[in-house]
Symmetry: C2
Subunit: 651 residues, 2 copies
């Protein structure tokens, strides 16, 4: 048992705060936790403030001044490297979104320029992504057929991009970027793996040279669609695809083994496109079942601002598509920006990044681009190629512009099957089963979230997977609050430390006293549970004591150290508990309520009703006080001391 | 500063548990927190087990054995008292639900009988309630007009009752009763006040003798409807209503002042009905603008099981109505049962009560009753009249049956305006502005929830109020997890205790060390926030130190005592934080991770990467270790000690 504590300390109530001040503090904490205007606020001169503000909004002003030739060299090299990846990938993903292939090139021209001005990541390479492309195709395609009504479909894609950008900008401006955090890491792993599986399956269309295909994305529909037309399979196309896939995967493997050879896998798609095109050109393979891209229009992005569709019934479809694809794109882009910033030790303000992404998509939607973000693969290549600043994005944009102006005819003979191989190779990297295993080992619930996202995407639709994983993640948060852990504490021998007896089996409990620790806030959602659970602990303890014929239970010490907050239902519960215990001739003792809890407990009559002497600063002091009462004057009923419980008799 | 701690203690990892065992424990904790089968489980003999099981399901078996004449006397008195309240209230509420008045009597016959067998509360009096009645009228009335299509409307009301009962039974059987807790106390106060306001406004129709009235329930529509037909107002009706209202409120006031005279207010509605009927009968007031009930059918409940509507399009309407009214009814009934059980010191199992409510409504829907629960007013009268067991419900049911068989003709001349007065008098008690003021004083957020429920109901619809208040309550839970408090800890002088320096302003901080306490779990929803916020604390501390030219910051002590759980995103955040701090030449020290957190931290590589020596059991020990390092060998970089951080350099 612990030794007597000589000095008792008082639990204090923090000084009261005026309502509006505390409201302001709370809102500040919710929206400006990272204190983004810290530097600006500290500056006293107005002109300096404006300058810092401009630099805050346009990071280019920050880094452009220190820019030098050394940087330029690095940026040009990495810019060209990512352009060589961006061109074939762009065409492939546009194909995946059922959009004209040229849109993939357009989307690698305007958005990177905007990002270079407004973005704060130095390593992010802007471009379209497979998952958002597929999602666009699946969502818009459900209501408008891309083949029968290509113009409307195209315009809806622009409109969805516009809405996505608008939403991203708004989230950033309102500093609501934390809403994107609702997509947990586990959910993203499952979701990405599912989406990659679905995207790969979709590519079987290109690989097998099929021309009709289902619009559904789930495994069952896709497999049924493939096997129902097995007589239409083109072996030439399949063989060619497998060869390129093998080539791409080999280069990936090499680059993974030797990170210095990253450029091998970065160049592989372009090499595949060139070889594929040459192959078709010389062997006239287009007449033997190999589908080709065909003609691409020359010239840079035509304006599309007049094509945006704001009339019902399509505007809601575009809005919905925009919001969902926009969130997915944000989640990927922000995560990519953050992780590279971590490596290079600089800061990324998520909300500011959202504004940059948003502006880039709004501008994109005005100039024939569809949804772009910062894809992981392209940014990794950028990073490995040694980029220094966002200038690499500008270089890529220029390279793409040159392609658009002069080189598009070269893609005439590019076989679609090569594009499919490029997509499959990129997607296989997204199935991160090791991460899933890691989740299983560390946290079963996270694995469950991941699995449900995966299964939802694979067997349902991409949206179902998304909703499932978000729903289950949120359920977990609610469950944490709804069912907080309560554990019994024991004394670690020869100390005044009290800890969970399950975690520290050597900790000893005291007869006559039970110490319960509540591990979470006391809210309406858990107050009934806590009351029941505490009752059960007491019942069990009394049973045990009755069997061993020890001292009967007299004191219930409730350690509130970990109770971050309490609401009025929680206070009622404590009052109720105090009365219940009083009637069972048990004395409730409270330990270490935090600032919030203490404020509310003293405003209510609770402190008076249990007696000010029965609120202690540490468990050791509370135990010592109980111990003292137990051994000196054995009280016939603890109410006599508190003066609080008999109140109830008057009710 | 605190004195040197001589002995260091180890943080322990609890022994691993097999997956299925821990899953079972978790589910047990979620669903069987109150351990309802404790007694049954402890019994070894099978026959005894069955007996206990039966008694568990049918509490009547429990108390019937000890029943005696003394009890019967009390129960008969209270039963007759509540019957005298139930009859006029029943008719009034049926009127409110746009149902034939006789249904109010039917509903006070069968359901109380069922409850007497299955319910575990001794004080609850079963009957219909105003809010659920109005909700039924509003929801079904939106699609089916009660005047034009009374038969379908009636059948839908039965079906909704059936679905409500089914849902209640299922919730109870699946032990999901905690879902009802989503309606917080604050939400219920606001919701009830709003509903009472709306119900009172609806009564203006009866009071002013109007025959046409809006179907909307919001203040604006109702007032517009009333004032647009001011030429139709009947002053006779209004005057009579005001007189009765005055009488009822006076008796209420008397009973409130002198609780012993509770029977005055309990009898007042019946007295009003009698006097009102006599008044009409003798003065022939029905020809002077006073509307009367008219003929009521003699005889007890006809069966209605064949009237249930399970065909579309109406089945979804009935289902929706049933679920919403069922939840509202449950929330009231369970709260009433619980609070009286508290007074009399016996236990109520919420889930068991739900089954009882559910069965009573299912049976009710088969026998021409609509939704019943345990209304507060009637139960309070029952309690005050000295009821001992659920037999008082049986007595009430018998009294109602007698009325149904023989006395219905007496209600022919009962004026509707009296019913309106009865409803208004009952409703005014529900506007608990004192409770709302109490919320404002204790917890602003709860007040906000209450207010939004009130405004939602009054200016929108009852459903909007419900959804608003639940939504905001849930948002609060999410916000708690999403934005946990972090505070700086200081040492309370001459002790080894560390506490929040805002709560204990006398606590002293140490130069070179910052101690941060995280007050909540570390989950995906807050890990970015925590990382940013910790960064901000460190920035601020470094600024402060720079100004005062004290020791530079070297150690960040993170107190995880209140971190109830951590998920994989949280672990990644800690790993990231450790790397970030390492690069800033700061050493991360962890204090007292709980069982769950410790389990996951040791499974991940985190413990290794910060070094096992840098995880301490108490803040005092951590501080002492840092202090020792600071004063003996001033380390040029703390990495040397930990051996953890340099790993990053190889990445």
């Amino acid at each position: 048992m612990c030794k007597r504590v000589l000095q008792y300390h008082q639990v204090e109530t923090p000084p009261p705060q005026p309502f509006f001040k505390s409201l302001k503090n709370t809102l500040n904490e919710i929206l400006f936790a990272d204190d983004p205007f810290r530097k600006i606020r500290k500056e006293s001169k107005m002109s300096k403030k404006i300058e810092l503000g401009l630099r805050h909004v346009f990071p280019i002003l920050e880094w452009a001044r220190g820019y030098n030739l050394e940087y330029l060299k690095s940026d040009v090299i990495s810019g060209i490297t990512i352009a060589s990846l961006a061109i074939p990938q762009g065409i492939s993903y546009a194909q995946l979104a059922n959009l004209p292939p040229i849109l993939g090139l357009y989307s690698s021209f305007v958005p990177p320029m905007v990002y270079a001005i407004m973005g704060s990541s130095r390593d992010l390479a802007v471009g379209t992504v497979a998952v958002a492309s597929l999602l666009t195709a699946a969502m818009i395609g459900k209501e408008v057929n891309a083949v029968e009504n290509p113009k409307l479909y195209l315009h809806l894609a622009f409109t969805a991009t516009f809405f996505a950008g608008l939403m991203q900008t708004c989230l950033g401006l309102l500093r609501l970027g934390f809403l994107v955090e609702i997509l947990s890491h586990a959910a993203i792993i499952g979701f990405m793996a599912g989406a990659a599986t679905v995207v790969c399956l979709q590519q079987l269309k290109g690989l097998l040279g099929l021309s009709h295909f289902t619009h559904s994305t789930d495994v069952i529909s896709v497999l049924r669609s493939i096997f129902s037309q097995s007589h239409m399979w083109r072996w030439e196309s399949g063989l060619l695809g497998c060869c390129f896939l093998f080539f791409l995967l080999t280069t990936k493997y090499i680059s993974k083994k030797r990170p210095k050879l990253f450029w091998i896998s970065a160049m592989a798609p372009l090499v595949s496109v060139i070889f594929g095109s040459l192959f078709v050109y010389f062997l006239h393979a287009q007449f033997h079942g190999i589908q080709i891209i065909g003609e691409l229009k020359k010239g840079i992005n035509p304006p599309s601002i007049t094509h945006l569709v704001f009339t019902s019934p399509y505007v809601t479809l575009a809005l919905k598509t925009g919001i969902i694809t926009g969130v997915i794109a944000l989640a990927e882009g922000i995560a990519v920006g953050r992780s590279f910033a971590m490596y290079k030790n600089y800061n990324i303000d998520g909300n500011k990044e959202m504004i940059a992404f948003g502006m880039m998509n709004i501008m994109g939607s005005f100039s024939s681009c569809y949804l772009t973000t910062g894809p992981f693969s392209r940014s990794a290549v950028n990073f490995n190629a040694g980029c220094k600043t966002a200038v690499s994005n500008v270089v890529m944009a220029v390279a793409v512009a040159v392609t658009l102006l002069f080189l598009t005819p070269l893609f005439f003979y590019t076989p679609l099957v090569v594009l499919s191989s490029i997509i499959i190779a990129a997607m296989l990297g997204l199935v991160d089963y090791e991460a899933a295993m890691h989740l299983w080992r560390l946290d079963k619930f996270d694995f469950f979230v991941c699995l449900s996202a995966f299964l939802g995407v694979v067997f349902g639709t991409i949206e179902i997977g998304l909703i499932l994983s978000v729903g289950i993640s949120v359920l977990r948060l609610l469950l944490f609050v709804g069912r907080p852990k309560i554990y019994v504490m024991g004394n670690i021998q020869n100390t005044e430390i009290f800890r969970n007896i399950e975690q520290y089996p050597q900790a000893t409990t005291l007869s006559g006293v039970i110490i319960l620790h509540i591990d979470g806030p006391i809210y309406f959602a858990n107050s009934s549970y806590l009351r029941d659970r505490i009752g059960r602990w007491i019942d069990e303890e009394e049973d045990k004591l009755r069997k061993s014929e020890e001292n009967s239970l007299q004191y219930i010490i409730l350690d509130l150290s970990a109770v971050g907050n309490i609401d009025t239902s929680g206070i009622s519960m404590l009052e109720e508990l105090n009365k219940l215990l009083g009637r069972r001739e048990l004395k409730l003792v409270i330990v270490n309520p935090g600032a919030e809890a203490m404020k509310k407990l003293s405003k209510s009559k609770f402190i008076e009703s249990i007696g000010k002497d029965w609120i202690h600063l540490t468990v050791a002091e509370a135990v010592s006080a109980c111990d003292f009462m137990l051994h000196t004057a054995k009280p016939d009923s603890p109410e006599k001391i508190s003066g609080g419980v008999p109140e109830f008799n008057n009710v």
